[in-house]
Symmetry: C2
């Protein structure tokens, strides 16, 4: 964990299974929920408070993709991997809706570490990232597979920009 | 498919395995990519064209969450389910990056249909939604599990608003 304390980026060699990372918190305000939904998920339960009461959500809820995008923002600030966070994908679930005014943060844990056989300069690390609201309820679980570089990669042809090492 | 042609919403009874839905297309402009990344995924390969050339992407790429959010927008316009699209989650993968100027559309197929035992008014339908660029390359695969109502639900206590039936 000293690498984080020193503000340095982490490489594959710095990660171990069970290692945890906690993000800052973000409050999802109503305006932001309406703006995101209007652009990307224009459905009545994300846009209209009165109609939303007649939906499965029983009231206005943020788009799951808004929760996902906000989670990404929080991950960028809390998972200081060298070269940035590049995900190949993963499983995503929204066990509970996010509501206007919810204060969410993300807790991530290293689940698996798989050095690449064909690409010695990198590995694939699976994280389990839970997005949690102010009541301790999990609103999203995402288990991304993320490309993580070995320390050698910083000076190889892979060329991680100096500012991202 | 007559329900779509007539502009009506679809219920569980209207779906069958293998049924396909094709969305309109959307061009992801550079400005939009930079705006989304600045809000939700502020990493150098999404924001800085010069630095991005030194990344795994070899040039500026849209955030995967931007591709996902845009896919949702296209799904809202192409999967006319009664009561809207409410997803419990699913597997997401980004096999290829989305680039400025890419023209993407979404092709969705019904994969499984599971009527609920405990909730007779609904079922859980798995779709496979592929987001495809102008060259026919798949940039995202998402397999959401979506709640779909039976026709009865429209007039039951579940209360789908009249405008969403």
């Amino acid at each position: 964990m000293s690498a984080i304390l020193q503000g340095k980026r982490l490489y594959l060699e710095d990660l171990e299974i069970g290692q945890r990372f906690t993000s800052a918190a973000h409050i999802l305000e109503l305006d932001e929920i309406l703006d995101f939904a209007g652009r990307y998920d224009p459905q009545f339960f994300h846009l209209d408070e009165e109609l939303a009461e007649q939906s499965l959500f029983g009231g206005l809820a943020a788009s799951g993709w808004h929760t996902a995008a906000t989670t990404m923002r929080l991950l960028v600030g809390s998972l200081p991997l060298a070269g940035g966070l590049i995900g190949a994908g993963g499983e995503i679930a929204w066990p509970k809706a996010t509501r206007p005014g919810d204060r969410i943060h993300v807790e991530s844990e290293v689940v698996t570490i798989a050095p690449s056989r064909s690409r010695p300069e990198r590995g694939l690390v699976t994280f389990r990232s839970e997005t949690i609201n102010q009541d301790g309820e999990t609103v999203q679980v995402f288990t991304p597979k993320i490309i993580v570089w070995r320390r050698d990669a910083a000076t190889s042809d892979v060329a991680i920009p100096a500012s991202e090492r």
